[in-house]
Symmetry: C2
Subunit: 350 residues, 2 copies
């Protein structure tokens, strides 16, 4: 076994491979606790939800924002953390549920901002991978995403774990049963088994100078997380845009040397994205689609996702081929996905 220690990306590869087991663990062991917490929070009847997070967890928070607005019918916002930590803003947070999402639960600004929210009257909930963290400590409620220790610098299993935990939470808040998530572990296993397909796709980006990543609706957080993953591992600048925003300016940047990756949800988000895909095809863009087989076939290339998955849980699967892509492009460029330069696992921002 000792020679595997020197294989670049072995930690990230192992953690990506754990994802089906982590998802199953959340469904089996985590769900009852999540539904219990959801019940207690629902009884307090929050009217507005604020989500606080950074980096990968911020993309998980954005996914939760879509769930909250669409499934729960409550207005929601992402916190601009510096308003509290740098400017000392003290908004009245009565009737507000503040959800702080963090892999480590250790970043001082998240702890400070959550503490301030609780003092300002908010119901506070931490969603972390560390039940003993300072963030879990200062929050009224805590959900453990049960992903086990994550050692690679690029977060993978904690991202999908956060997504599933947040999905179950919102299901619990609206009185749903979370059954749409049941098949995810098996489907994730099927996707992760197709690494060779992604490896072939990765050749396309080995020499890319830049990437544009787009989606709409539930798929937009996936676009953002894919861009972040690709940037922090491959160092290729990857700009994520909602399809609608892409048409408001940045489309000028797309041409036949700026490849585009589109995440096409199977559902309303994908339908809303079609005019954007038409514009991109019309401009001769190199378009790689992560979505249903028919969508992949009308693009330059792509990765087909399983059919029949409810749109609201598709993000938990969509990101998997894109994590693999970040990994494979990084390997192809001769870099080590486990150790992007300049990064520390627990980022201490204040």
């Amino acid at each position: 076994m000792s020679d595997t220690q020197t294989v670049p990306g072995r930690i990230m590869a192992a953690e990506m491979a754990e994802q089906p087991a982590v998802l199953q663990r959340i469904l089996d062991e985590g769900a009852p606790k999540i539904f219990e917490i959801a019940g207690q929070i629902a009884a307090r009847e929050p009217r507005f939800v604020l989500l606080t997070a950074r980096g990968t967890s911020d993309n998980a928070a954005l996914y939760a924002k879509y769930l909250i607005e669409i499934l729960l019918g409550k207005p929601a916002g992402l916190t601009s953390m510096s308003t509290t930590t740098a400017y000392g803003a003290k908004p009245d947070l009565t009737d507000v549920l503040v959800i702080t999402v963090s892999q480590s639960g250790g970043s001082p600004d998240l702890v400070a901002s959550t503490k301030a929210a609780r003092e300002a009257g908010a119901i506070t909930l931490a969603v972390t991978n560390n039940a003993g963290s300072p963030l879990a400590e200062v929050s009224e409620f805590h959900i453990d995403v049960l992903a086990g220790p994550e050692k690679a610098l690029p977060a993978t299993k904690t991202y999908t774990a956060e997504l599933l935990a947040l999905y179950l939470l919102i299901e619990g808040l609206r009185g749903g049963d979370g059954s749409a998530a049941k098949a995810l572990p098996e489907l994730a296993t099927g996707i992760l088994a197709r690494q060779d397909e992604v490896k072939a796709l990765a050749e396309r980006y080995r020499f890319a100078q830049r990437l544009v990543i787009t989606s709409r609706g539930y798929g937009y957080p996936t676009a953002r997380e894919a861009a972040l993953k690709l940037m922090e591992t491959t160092y290729i600048p990857a700009s994520p845009f909602s399809g609608a925003d892409l048409l408001h300016g940045p489309l000028a940047m797309v041409d036949n040397v700026s490849p585009v990756i589109a995440i096409v949800p199977d559902g309303k988000g994908g339908e809303a994205l079609q005019p954007v895909l038409d514009r991109l095809r019309g401009r001769g863009a190199d378009l790689v689609v992560v979505g249903q087989q028919a969508q992949v076939e009308s693009a330059s290339a792509g990765f087909a996702l399983p059919a029949g998955v409810p749109e609201e849980v598709q993000p938990i699967l969509e990101i998997l081929p894109l994590q693999l892509l970040a990994y494979e492009v990084t390997i192809a460029r001769g870099q080590d996905p486990d150790a992007p330069r300049a990064l520390a696992k627990v980022t201490e921002t204040h």
Copy 2:
């Protein structure tokens, strides 16, 4: 005069130059109406604020979000528009002020989303440059930003006009007098007169493959708007990050071939950004600072902003040298800032 018709960027240049006059017009003619509307809205005691916009106006909306959280002490969020327009979400918006910001007031999704918000019980306010627009029509309240027709595709004067109108609105909502904005037209004139300095700075980016733009607090919307402006005119991929988020991953992308532009607010946002600037300098990044003279002197190069301006209105000035920079880099690359490929002035997203 006829030969000027063929000068690339002449429309954008003229519109940038109008900004001091537009700001003065808002202070003289617009402010009384804005304060009147603010008074009517304040009397209805909204508890939460949602902001809806796309593209450049979305960056103006983000600026307003900071003002609302810091100065007004109310929780706020940016709308994920597709939750309404694609998924038909119907959140209960009682006690919610929904502010929709749009230069043209013509994009169908903004109109639909604002209409839906009004039906869902929200107090709706449109901030546009077109009092006769469909958006102004469907909103309960309307603020005209009085920028006059904008013809260049990259929005410049409507952006600073939206910022000032939103600042005065929030001042009105909290019972302030907006006096911090009084000196802005004259200071803007001073900055715009220094185009030669920016032209020298532009040489730095003529051959750049990518850019990272960072700031914190009130300066973060400026970072986003500068990135958008540079992308849509020069086509250089420009990634905006809050300083804190930059440390959570994308820092790996920064090295001595990825130039960084930092907007350093004179105040708490700038203080919070210092550790990020230290990390960037430690990595040998090419760092260009837009901020106070002392900050510029500790960077590779920069553009010094006038001292003594209250932090909350600095964004109205900060963006000016960055608009000029987008213009000058575009000219240096032999492109026409007035007509980025593939863009239409009124973007019809649905």
